[in-house]
Every structure is written in structure tokens, then in C-alpha cells.
């Protein structure tokens, strides 16, 4: 079974702090994704990566950056956290891109910025 893990289930940070959310997948997947989930808005793509050190902006990249130094690990970085970044963050991975390939999701990190 594919396993996607995220470093924290719950996180509380203060405005202005630098925040790191970590995601690890164990199935040698090429693609990794970061989404944020908000009520009434569904999931929105922040960034994705199709290879090590490669990244592409999603629909809402402002205020976020990412890092993929190793194939299995994809980090989401909030350079200076703000209250409007309070949300549920979901990481996902998939083996190949462009086809009906299943995305496997992590359990999510609920981030609260005070």
C-alpha cells in the first residue's frame, strides 16, 4: 500500500513565523502535490512537483514556497505565516502524470495561525 505521511496532524503558529510542513511518500512516486482545503472551497492546488528539484505553481501559490530535495520528500514553506493561511493542508503523490492516475493523500495538517 502507498503511504503518504505528513509531519504533524495539528500545528499552531504565530503570525510572522516561518512554517515548514513536511510530506513523505514511500512508493517512489514521481509527482507530489500540496493542496489547501477550506470549507465551501474544496481543495485548491498550491504547488506541485514532477521531479526532484522541479516545481510548478498551482492555483494559489502566493505566500507559499516548496522544496523537493529528495524524491520521497516534498516540503511546503510559509515564509511569514498569516492568519488567512489557517487551513487544512493536504499532501498527495501519484506515480505518473497526465493520465487517470490515482493521487494518494496524506492525513492532512490542520494549521492554525494566531
Amino acid at each position: 500500500d502507498v503511504k503518504v505521511t505528513q509531519s504533524s496532524r495539528y500545528l499552531v503558529k504565530r503570525t510572522g513565523e516561518k512554517v515548514f510542513l513536511e510530506c513523505v511518500q514511500d512508493m517512489d512516486h514521481e509527482n507530489m502535490f500540496w493542496y489547501r482545503q477550506d470549507p465551501g472551497l474544496g481543495l485548491r492546488l498550491i504547488y506541485f512537483s514532477y521531479d526532484v528539484k522541479m516545481k510548478e505553481k498551482g492555483d494559489i501559490p502566493e505566500g507559499y514556497s516548496v522544496s523537493r530535495e529528495k524524491k520521497e520528500r516534498f516540503s511546503l514553506i510559509l515564509e511569514s505565516a498569516s492568519t488567512n493561511q489557517t487551513s487544512m493542508y493536504l499532501c498527495a503523490s501519484s506515480l505518473i502524470a497526465g493520465g487517470p492516475d490515482t493521487q494518494y493523500f496524506g492525513p492532512g495538517t490542520r494549521l492554525t495561525v494566531l
Partner: protein, 115 residues
């Protein structure tokens, strides 16, 4: 840009009954993929079912089936013989067959199965 609309924020169904979730999408593409994902309370999101737009036959996975109407840009999910474990948020999602495999999600429908 594609948009995915789920017009039902919440639905309630009794055990063993059938419930149908609606999803419409807007695209100018001819080839694409559609998905239904399920997110149980405090658990990870998992794929329920997927449909390729070039296939006319509706996809089925056990108690889950879809009604794909390409001309109407509609992709509804039917859950038959509902079980308590079906209680979850259900998301409809759209994917263009690009190299990136990006998913566009709807807002979700909360399904509550009652005894």
C-alpha cells in the same frame, strides 16, 4: 479554466438506501478524466471511482456507480445500499490529460448515513 460544481453541500441517507450526488463541470476539452474522492471523518482521502471521458460506459465499483453525461457535462455518483462507513465528504474532481496531472476539485458534498 475548468470549474467543478457540486450543488449539494450536505445529504442525508438511511442505511441500505440509495443516494445520488451531483457534479457538473465546465470545460472546452474533449478528452479528460473525472474522479470521485471520499474523505471520511479524520481519515485520509481515497479514490472512489474514475471515468475516462472517451469511454461511453459508466464506471462502476461495487456499490458505487457514476452517470456520466458528456454533452451535459454532468458526472453524478450513486451510492447503493448505503452503509454507516459511507459517511464522509465526497469530492468530484476533473483532470485534463496534460503531463502534470493536476486535479480541479469541487467544493464537496457531506454525506451522512443514518441507522
Amino acid at each position: 479554466a475548468q470549474t467543478v460544481t457540486q450543488s449539494q453541500p450536505e445529504m442525508s441517507v438511511q442505511e441500505a438506501e440509495t443516494v445520488t450526488l451531483s457534479c457538473t463541470y465546465d470545460t472546452s476539452e474533449n478528452n479528460y478524466y473525472l474522479f470521485w474522492y471520499k474523505q471520511p471523518p479524520s481519515r485520509q482521502m481515497i479514490l472512489v471511482i474514475r471515468q475516462e471521458a472517451y469511454k461511453q460506459q459508466n464506471a462502476t465499483e461495487n456499490r458505487f456507480s457514476v452517470n456520466f453525461q458528456k454533452a451535459a457535462k454532468s458526472f453524478s455518483l450513486k451510492i447503493s445500499d448505503s452503509q454507516l462507513g459511507d459517511t464522509a465528504m465526497y469530492f468530484c474532481a476533473f483532470m485534463k490529460p496534460t503531463i502534470w496531472g493536476k486535479l480541479q476539485f469541487g467544493a464537496g458534498t457531506q454525506v451522512v448515513v443514518t441507522p
